[in-house]
Symmetry: C2
Subunit: 343 residues, 2 copies
């Protein structure tokens, strides 16, 4: 068992004061070149590693970023039930590591605890994914820490914001299905929260329906937790209720994949009997059978850009707030069928 | 913008020294009940939050755990290409949060950097997933920090270890396929590293083949990165090479899911033309069509137990080393067909 080498050991071995070693480490005061070299040699010989926690006490940049991943539902321990978050987190961790930052992850719904974490850990910056209460954001604002919100329609302009245009993207997906000849279309979505991405996607869906002179039957709206199982349950519900539909728009790929499985189990063929379109383009979505037609959003690009902005803001506290909307594209695979019948 | 309340502010407002406030916070010296109550009231009024980084300087337990997720290959940024890791990480984060700990995640192959991180951040404990160089483990040993290894066959008894019996589990999967009447079986696996889980699974596979008097053709071994794409490529390779096989054992579900897609694309039906068995039982594996027959390992239980052991060891540095082997079970779905023909 090796005792940790401290700054005191370095000072003693170099025959200088602790303060002098500290000046060499933080560059705050000038130290003679000779003394500096002596200290650096000793640091090397003893294998001394400066303590970043101690650094956090005097320097603003602790090189530690916080990432908040929403829980799909209160009390759920499966932060990655929707693997969209794991893909996003992977890109954040990678981008941070490339720049010498470390990442603390938290899947939390108790937002007060998180405000405390930011202070306790002296986080240099925070990335927050998803929708939270306004109360949380207004308290967060007082903490004087750079924050990037991903997929948030929060109205505060104090934070950096990265997202896609969820309403338009969902409109794009629905328009595609309509152009394939579908007129009776269901929607399967996560819970519709005020200003949440699911609500925006629902709006975009409705707009496409209306713009094309179609009608949406409210009984064909299925709202549930965003996971595979909800998709399976939705398919069963549509079959049990003899829903008069030829296509389903899902507001997340995990829902769409669950739908495909659910219809398969009920003996309903995708895309022969029913067409399905997703939203996200997860890694898995091209490996399902049939391949999932979906709207691809730039998941990794969002994560990497969030880290880039955050570090720029940490280095330049006066930086202006950034708000960016990422482009998406429709990926056509095999889960939506063209209806050739004249209806 | 609110300035952070410091321990100095608390001391000043309480009319005591900084040291006295510190004693109340860390309980290291006795302070009169009256003074203690006065200080606690001031702490509450000012909204003071102790700095855990500062705490790390004097107290061993920084309440900060490190988790190392291996990169599937050097330079890969997709730490979650194999979603096995995201499921494991979800359970670790949850268990840690329940106990008031925070989690720093790192996907790293540069192990020296990680040893430095442990020291820089004063990590209270570390969970390491997967196989690393012996050199790394012997250096890690010198750092005097509790470590739990998950899925490691590292020979040092200095660390806690949690794993399944990979050789037996793979033997179980292969025996199942053989009992369904298959005699010509291929293996698709991740890279075979000395003492890695993939190598153990390969051994278990070979043992089952031998125990049943069958023969394994080396050209039916396909070794690649553990991701969906490798499975797709393997299927194409088997079809292109007119492999004389009726079943494939995959050493990971992501490989098995890729195989199903790859065979489907080549017009080969699963399980009618070829049977596939996986390993892991990921969340997605019951939602594929057909459902994937696989060996279920207790992913979340491993993650939760790792946190439990780590915290026990942090609180009791004299704790004896724990080594636990978790049970698995075979989950039969639809991807393996019973061969009824008399061969």
């Amino acid at each position: 068992m090796k005792n940790r080498v401290t700054i005191r050991d370095v000072a003693a071995a170099s025959n200088v004061s602790v303060a002098t070693v500290s000046y060499v480490l933080n560059g705050k005061k000038k130290v003679s070149e000779e003394t500096k070299q002596k200290i650096l040699t000793v640091i090397d010989e003893l294998g001394f590693v400066p303590d970043l926690n101690a650094r956090g006490l005097t320097v603003k940049d602790t090189k530690l970023l916080g990432v908040v991943v929403p829980q799909t539902e209160p009390g759920s321990k499966l932060m990655f039930h929707n693997i969209f978050y794991s893909e996003l987190l992977g890109s954040i961790e990678y981008a941070a590591r490339q720049r010498g930052y470390h990442v603390i992850i938290s899947a939390t719904d108790v937002t007060e605890d998180y405000l405390q974490l930011i202070q306790e850990r002296n986080l240099a910056g925070v990335i927050i994914i998803g929708t939270y209460q306004n109360q949380f954001f207004s308290e967060l604002k007082t903490l004087d820490v750079p924050v990037v919100l991903i997929d948030s329609y929060c109205k505060y302009d104090y934070f950096h914001k990265l997202r896609i245009d969820d309403e338009n993207c969902s409109n794009l997906a629905t328009e595609f299905v309509i152009r394939q000849g579908h007129k009776k279309i269901a929607l399967v979505t996560g819970h519709l929260q005020e200003d949440g991405v699911m609500q925006k996607r629902y709006k975009g869906f409705l707009k496409a329906i209306e713009q094309n002179g179609l009608e949406f039957q409210k009984e064909n709206l299925y709202e549930a937790t965003v996971d595979y199982e909800s998709g399976v349950n939705a398919a069963k519900w549509f079959v049990d209720n003899k829903a008069d539909i030829t296509a389903v728009v899902a507001t997340a790929d995990v829902l769409a994949i669950g739908l495909m499985k659910g219809f398969y189990e009920q003996g309903v063929q995708v895309p022969e009997d029913i067409s399905i379109i997703g939203f996200d383009d997860l890694d898995i979505s091209k490996y399902t059978t049939p391949g999932l037609t979906t709207v691809k959003q730039p998941i990794s690009a969002k994560g990497e850009r969030a880290v880039e902005i955050l570090i720029e803001n940490i280095e330049n506290p006066q930086m202006e707030k950034v708000e960016e909307v990422f482009p998406v594209k429709l990926i056509e695979r095999q889960s939506v069928r063209k209806r050739t019948e004249i209806l």
